[in-house]
C-alpha cells in the first residue's frame, strides 16, 4: 500500500525528499501516515480535498483486491 502513496506524493510535491509514509497494520486493517513538507501540504490535499480523495479511492481498489481495509492520514 505504502509504495502507491509514496509514488503519487513524490510525483506531485516540490520537495520529494521530504515525503515519508509510515505503514501500520492492526485489526481494522492498514493505516498509512503520510508526511510532506509544510509548503507541499496543499498539493497533496488538493482543491476541496480532491487529490486526497482520489488517492483514497485508488487505495481502496488495491485494498479490496487484497481483502483488507486501508486508511490514509495526512499528518
Amino acid at each position: 500500500m505504502k509504495d502507491l502513496v509514496e509514488y503519487i506524493a513524490k510525483s506531485i510535491v516540490n520537495e520529494p525528499d521530504a515525503v515519508n509514509v509510515e505503514e501500520e497494520t492492526n485489526d481494522e486493517g492498514i493505516t498509512l501516515k503520510l508526511t510532506v513538507a509544510d509548503d507541499d501540504k496543499g498539493r497533496i490535499i488538493g482543491k476541496q480535498g480532491q487529490i486526497a480523495q482520489a488517492m483514497r479511492t485508488l487505495l481502496r481498489v488495491k485494498a479490496a483486491k487484497a481483502a483488507t481495509r486501508v486508511r490514509l492520514e495526512i499528518m
Binding site: 479511492t57 485508488l58 481498489v61 479490496a64 487484497a66
Partner: protein, 166 residues
C-alpha cells in the same frame, strides 16, 4: 490515430505514469491510445490525450458511475501537470466504458431534443459531471430547434434543454 511526432513524448509520459500506477495497484492491464478521446486540432496537433486501459475484469477500476476511473484520471493529470511543461487534457477510459457512455449520452440528447421540440417545454436532465455535460452541449450545439445550458452548483449541476424560439 497517428500521434504527431513532436507529441510522442507527451503520450509516452502519460502512458508511463499510468502504467506505473496500475503496477503499484497490482492491476494487470495494457494501455492503448484511445481514438475516441484523442482529439487533433486543425494543424494536426493533439489537443487531448486519450488512453484506453484494456484487460480482464477491470470493473473494479471503473467503479460506481466511473468514480474510480475519474480518480485515476485526476491523479495522472496532476502528475503530468507537475512534471511536463506542456499542458494537454488527459482523458482515461477503461475498456471503452466512457466511449459507450458518451454514445449513450448523445443518443439520449437527440431523443430529449425531439421531445423538447414537440412539447415546447424545457427539460432538465439528471445531475452529471462536467465532462458528461460537455458531451450533451456539443451533441446539441448545432441543433436547429433546441438550446442547452447548465444550471445549479457542484454535484447537482445539470443540463437544461430548452426550445430555441420561445
Amino acid at each position: 490515430m497517428e500521434i504527431p511526432e513532436r507529441q510522442d513524448d507527451i503520450f509516452e509520459a502519460a502512458r508511463s505514469i499510468l502504467s506505473r500506477l496500475l503496477d503499484l495497484m497490482a492491476i494487470p492491464a495494457s494501455i492503448a491510445v484511445s481514438d475516441e478521446f484523442t482529439v487533433a486540432d486543425e494543424d494536426g496537433n493533439a489537443s487531448s490525450v486519450g488512453l484506453n486501459i484494456e484487460g480482464e475484469d477491470l470493473g473494479i477500476l471503473i467503479g460506481r458511475r466511473g468514480q474510480t476511473m475519474a480518480s485515476l484520471q485526476h491523479i495522472v493529470r496532476i502528475i503530468m501537470a507537475h512534471q511536463m511543461q506542456v499542458r494537454l487534457p488527459i482523458v482515461l477510459d477503461v475498456e471503452g466504458y466512457k466511449k459507450r457512455r458518451c454514445e449513450g449520452l448523445r443518443a439520449l440528447a437527440e431523443r430529449l431534443a425531439e421531445q423538447v421540440k414537440t412539447r415546447e417545454m424545457p427539460f432538465t436532465m439528471e445531475p452529471m459531471s462536467a465532462f458528461e455535460r460537455r458531451v450533451i452541449h456539443l451533441a446539441l450545439a448545432d441543433h436547429p430547434d433546441v438550446s442547452t445550458e447548465s444550471t445549479g452548483f457542484g454535484e447537482t449541476r445539470k443540463v437544461v434543454i430548452s426550445p430555441r424560439n420561445i
